[in-house]
């Protein structure tokens, strides 16, 4: 093994070691011990990733096996690494955000009895996510895929005494399993028709797959493969209609909302599709499907962000909407733009979540924005960093989000694939919506009148999930003031704010228009992708200045302005609108009734079906009629035959004589 290969192994194994130490020996090493070993593990992984990044930049990539998991059916199932530009970018994002979240957790979870367990889980998550992104084959991809799902399940239900948390984590796992159902079938199709699960070998056969039809169904093979794989991505990356688990996942502690449910795990689907670009490029049907799903998610989930009052839920819906943007980029073959937005989003969304968490600490675990206001005075670092994050999110020129989002919008504009018109409408209107809900949150939290300490927890309840179940929702007592969070919390905010502002400006040229993803991401000649955009690109500064004159900028400004007017100048207007457009508000407040439908149709339907099959099928027909019926029949025959065994000799003699008579008659006639 070369030194680089050892380094590759070190990246996932260091967090794993931390997770095992903190998880199995948590009592022994104590709280400080737990956070030291896990932070050390992730820090080692981050530093190693930086070295690997430099190595990749020098042109050294790697594709090799770690060990052979199994050989069966002519297929080698392996665990192995593929280290290239895409991988190393993901490694840097994952380890950096994870490191920030680890440090932040020291402050956020300081009073929690499950301290060591929490550190163990987030390190385990880091390990799983790294295995996912570093994989060179579909088996390990699926391993990582399910493993991050498991840790997400454990972390959403971290406060396991809360009924809402353990409802949310089961829901998250099952909805993800629906996606994985498709994903597994996609992998199965690849194994069956390509005879390998290794990316490179499968990609080499992509052309061959594209010309085939599936046995039995007669569908285009490549389209079926891509759609099945994308269904997996829909689960993990929370695309409509499999998005329902993500808002509920906010039941988990805020650090993991930042790490798992914003920056990293939920982008696994985006990463996967970008990785599979040699396959997706061969199916326009699949790309259109991806595009329409993404556009729908981008716009309609954004609308829901407008009516939320829980600070974390606003950020959650904004995550859904941004994931939609990334998916749209995939659909128009702008894979590098999708991955670019994935990266910028990871920084600014982690920042916004951790900022929200800081606010929640300051508010003593009250998450209702209606109880906040004017916090900028008390929490200056949180305020400034959140403002920077929000500007990045709405795509303000020069901020990181501007470069990634604008590239996506331009790519949609240039695309000719079916559905591009609808997608363009969605992403443009989405810019306005994003700006509106982001600054609605910003103004409600940091500006305006101070509404905290008024002890009006009574009107928590327009969300069934906010019942006063847990003592975590206590809020500020009357007269109490919020205060800035400790340095372990604010330091990560500052460190995340820096890339949120500058990373786009610094990296757009190499990532989108340079050679960074050459040989990694593949765009077919029949698709525009970013080619048109590249022709008009004259540097990051020029792009930002040009951005000031384009529609997205003015849409964003319109959204900010409207939020300012509604929530700073005339706070009575939103309430009036809410009254006037009652049905629309009810529709949004109920999240388009997705949850209700799933609850009644899928959950209720399954239980009903199960009961029916059990009571009628098993107990009624099989046991009732067949099994016990047979037993009764046997009993019944025995009852009757018992009548013949009377024990009276004369009766037996009589029967015998009759019998002899019958036999004689029979013989005499046939003899």
């Amino acid at each position: 093994m070369t030194d680089m290969q050892k380094l590759y192994l070190l990246v996932p194994l260091a967090p794993l070691a931390g997770a095992i130490l903190a998880g199995l020996f948590g009592k022994m090493i104590g709280r400080a011990g737990a956070h030291i070993v896990t932070i050390l593990g992730v820090a080692v992984a981050f530093v190693a990733s930086v070295f690997i990044y430099q190595d990749v930049q020098a042109g050294n990539t790697f594709n090799g096996t770690v060990y052979t998991w199994m050989v069966a059916g002519g297929i080698k199932f392996e665990v192995g690494f593929l280290v290239d530009a895409l991988t190393v970018m993901m490694m840097l994002v994952v380890t950096f955000v994870s490191l920030m979240v680890h440090i932040y957790t020291i402050g956020y979870m300081s009073e929690d009895p499950g301290y060591q367990r929490f550190f163990s889980y987030i390190s385990l998550f880091t390990f799983s996510m790294l295995m996912l992104v570093m994989s060179n084959n579909f088996l390990q991809l699926f391993f990582g895929w399910e493993a991050v799902g498991l840790v997400s399940y454990l972390l959403i239900g971290f406060w396991y005494e809360r009924p809402t948390a353990i409802y949310a984590n089961l829901k998250a796992f099952l909805v993800n399993r629906v996606g994985d159902f498709g994903f597994l079938l996609g992998i199965g199709l690849i194994a069956a028709y390509a005879g390998s699960l290794n990316y490179a070998e499968v990609f080499a056969k992509a052309g061959e797959l594209a010309s085939q039809e599936m046995a039995v169904t007669g569908w285009s093979l490549i389209t079926a493969i891509c759609i099945c794989l994308f269904i997996g991505a829909m689960g993990k990356s929370a695309q409509v209609p499999l998005h329902v688990w993500l808002p509920d996942s906010m039941e988990g502690p805020t650090p993991i909302s930042a790490l798992i449910h914003a920056a990293t795990m939920v982008t696994a689907g985006i990463f996967m599709v970008a990785r599979m670009s040699p396959l997706f490029e061969l199916s326009d049907v699949a790309l259109s499907f991806v595009l329409v799903i993404g556009a729908t998610t981008a716009l309609f989930m954004g609308f829901l962000g407008i009516v939320q009052n829980d600070i974390k839920r606003v950020v959650a819906y904004s995550t859904l909407s941004q994931l939609g943007y990334m998916t749209v980029a995939l659909g128009v073959s702008a894979y590098s733009a999708a991955v670019f937005h994935l990266m910028t989003h990871a920084f600014f969304k982690a920042l916004l979540f951790l900022g929200a968490g800081s606010v929640i600490i300051g508010m003593h675990h009250d998450q209702d924005m209606r109880n906040m206001g004017g916090l900028r005075k008390y929490m200056p670092i949180t305020w400034i960093t959140s403002l920077l994050g929000s500007l990045a999110l709405i795509g303000f020129p020069f901020f990181s989000g501007f470069y990634s989002k604008d590239s996506i919008i331009e790519a949609v504009h240039a695309s000719t694939i079916p559905g591009a018109g609808y997608a363009l409408f969605c992403v443009l209107l989405g810019v306005f919506v994003t700006a509106f809900y982001s600054f609605r949150m910003y103004f409600l939290v940091f500006h305006g009148e101070e509404r905290f300490g008024q002890a009006h927890h009574g009107h928590h309840g327009d969300h069934d999930d906010e019942e006063p179940a847990a003592d975590h929702h206590h809020g500020l007592a009357p007269g109490q003031k919020p205060h800035e969070s400790p340095w372990v919390v604010t330091l990560p905010l500052v460190l995340l704010a820096i890339p949120s502002v500058v990373i786009g400006f610094m990296t757009i040229q190499p990532m989108l228009f340079g050679d960074w993803f050459k040989g990694v991401i593949f765009v077919g000649d029949n698709h525009v992708g970013l080619k048109e955009l590249a022709a008009h690109f004259h540097g990051a500064t020029a792009m930002a200045i040009h951005g000031l004159q384009t529609a997205p900028f003015w849409l964003a400004m319109g959204g900010v302005g409207l939020a300012w007017f509604f929530y700073m100048v005339r706070p009575d207007i939103p309430a009036a609108i809410q009254r006037t457009f009652k049905p629309l508000y009810v529709l949004l407040d109920n999240k388009y009734y997705f949850d209700r439908f799933n609850e009644v149709f899928f959950a209720g339907g399954s239980r009903l079906l199960g009961k029916g099959l059990w009571k009628i099928g098993d107990q009624g027909v099989i046991d009732g009629i067949a099994v016990n019926g047979t037993a009764r029949l046997v009993g019944w025959i025995a009852q009757i035959s018992r009548l013949f065994q009377t024990g009276h000799l004369y009766q037996y003699a009589f029967v015998m004589i009759i019998g002899v008579f019958v036999l004689l008659t029979f013989w005499s006639r046939h003899g």
Partner: protein, 493 residues
């Protein structure tokens, strides 16, 4: 090949050891009976280890063969041997027996010697089933193994144990009578041979093939159990003591599945091909229908019993697709199911020993008082849901992959287990383990002791090892499975 008759040792050490344990008599000698039983079970496991280490994975021929004349008049022989299909089951069986002895250590306080002896003897008999190469020898072991399990359920079982025991006994006896007729027919046709390997080569017309296949289908299908002859299993599990459930799920169900590979497919390949769609349909019904039924169970043991049926549906599905991924996946699934279902029943046993209830509704918030237990139970629940890196994933994954090759819609139906399996297992877990402490019984629970930690820990290691590195398990199977596939591809008509 070595001269030590390891197969005979694997059969007779537990049986004779069991008789020795039985000889310790009344419960005054219970401590002695326990120690002796543990020693015998460990010895029984040790003698199976050379079967793996000395196994030649490059050949499909029977290994460790022993051949003695038994009843010369009917040409019945004491003929033993293992190949890549059967060898792992002897190890699994001997291993599970140790777990069962440990699990019954404190809980069983009455008739300890008889209880331990029953399990030891059963273990020996089951090793006999997996290694018998003579039809009559197989039949004798097959039937004899019913008796100890019948007694275990009937004596140490729950309130409704007699109904369950009789249902179990009659169901399986009914099936095996049909098998006996088939065996006798084969004896006649082959000109007086009971050798299973001879029967593999015996040419048969299609009509007798179909009849023999159906006889075997009923005999083995009941044992697996396949839908719709499965209803004895939930009743038997619910009434059986923990050890009984463990052996039933981990080993007894595998006997039927093993029969398909040793008898049905190689002896009547044409009928097997012809009727494969029927078996696959029944298997898919087991996966989906039973998955929904498991969802609504209120009794933990019943839930896991139904989940067993659903998982075994995967096994029969894998067999009858006639491809390597399917058959090896099914074999892996059988072994994994031995670990996982065994562990699930042991976990439920741990709770039952403390609260004396199997009802999900009687629990809630167990994690507060039993955190170590909750961690183990979580691992096994995840394995039961087929999470990658646990053994539960490997077999299901292979079978789904094999199924895509066979027919996309079959794979589609089979893959629903990903959702259903997670739904019924984790929903139960949520209601039992998570949440607030439900009642005073839960509040008073004590976490697992060292003995319980030991057997759950060992099983946890097995589940993880097999999930992370299934290579050593699948490696021994290849030659035999390949040979089987080659054999069944050739028509006997």
């Amino acid at each position: 090949m070595t001269d030590i008759p390891f197969l005979s040792l694997a059969i007779w050490i537990p049986i004779l050891g069991g008789l020795l344990v039985l000889a310790t008599g009344s419960d005054r000698n219970a401590p002695l009976a326990r120690v002796l039983a543990l020693a015998v079970s460990v010895a029984g496991f040790i003698v199976t280890i050379p079967l793996y280490t000395g196994f030649d994975a490059s050949t499909s021929a029977m290994q460790f063969v022993e051949l003695q004349s038994w009843i010369p008049r009917f040409n019945i022989n004491y003929h033993l041997g293992v190949d890549g299909i059967s060898v792992l089951f002897l190890l699994l069986n001997a291993f599970i027996t140790i777990m069962v002895v440990m699990a019954g250590w404190q809980v069983i306080q009455e008739r300890v010697a008889q209880y331990m002896a029953a399990f030891l003897i059963m273990s020996g008999l089951m090793n006999g089933i997996f290694s018998a190469l003579d039809g009559v020898l197989f039949y004798v072991f097959f039937e004899a193994s019913l008796i100890p399990l019948y007694l275990v359920i009937g004596i140490w079982g729950g309130a409704n144990r007699v109904y369950a025991a009789i249902k179990f006994f009659l169901y399986t006896l009914f099936g095996s009578l049909l098998m006996l007729i088939a065996l006798l027919y084969l004896f006649m046709e082959s000109g007086g041979s009971f050798s299973i390997l001879e029967w593999h080569k015996l040419p048969l017309a299609i009509e007798p093939q179909v009849l023999i296949f159906l006889a075997f289908l009923v005999a083995f299908g009941v044992k697996v159990p396949m839908w719709p002859v499965h209803t004895w299993l939930p009743d038997a599990h619910v009434e059986a003591p923990t050890g009984g459930s463990v052996v039933l799920a981990a080993i007894a169900l595998k006997l039927g599945a093993y029969g398909f590979l040793r008898f049905s497919m190689p002896i009547v390949p044409d009928a097997a091909h012809q009727l494969a769609p029927v078996v696959i349909a029944l298997s898919l019904i087991a996966v989906v229908y039973i998955g929904f039924v498991a969802l609504v169970q209120t009794d933990m043991k019943k839930l896991v019993a139904y989940s067993s049926i659903s998982h075994m549906g995967f096994v029969t599905l894998g067999f009858f697709m006639f491809n390597q991924l399917g058959i090896e996946g099914a074999l892996v699934q059988m072994i994994s199911h031995g670990f996982v279902s065994g562990a699930m029943f042991l976990c439920i046993g741990v709770l039952y020993d403390r609260v004396h209830s199997r009802q999900i509704a009687d629990y809630g918030g167990v994690v507060h008082t039993m955190p170590k237990f909750a961690a183990f139970f979580m691992l096994f629940a995840m394995a039961n849901s087929g999470l990658p890196a646990t053994s539960g994933f490997v077999g299901e994954f292979m079978i789904v992959l094999g199924a895509v090759k066979y027919n996309f819609w079959v794979a589609f139906a089979a893959a629903t287990t990903l959702i259903l399996g997670a739904a019924y297992t984790l929903w139960m877990y949520k209601r039992v383990v998570f949440g607030k402490v439900a009642n005073s019984h839960v509040a008073e629970l004590e976490d697992i002791n060292a003995r319980e930690f030991a057997f759950l820990g060992i099983l946890a290691l097995c589940v993880l090892a097999m999930g992370l590195y299934p290579f050593p398990f699948t490696e021994v199977m290849h030659a035999s499975v390949d040979e089987l596939l080659r054999h069944v591809a050739v028509s006997k008509l």
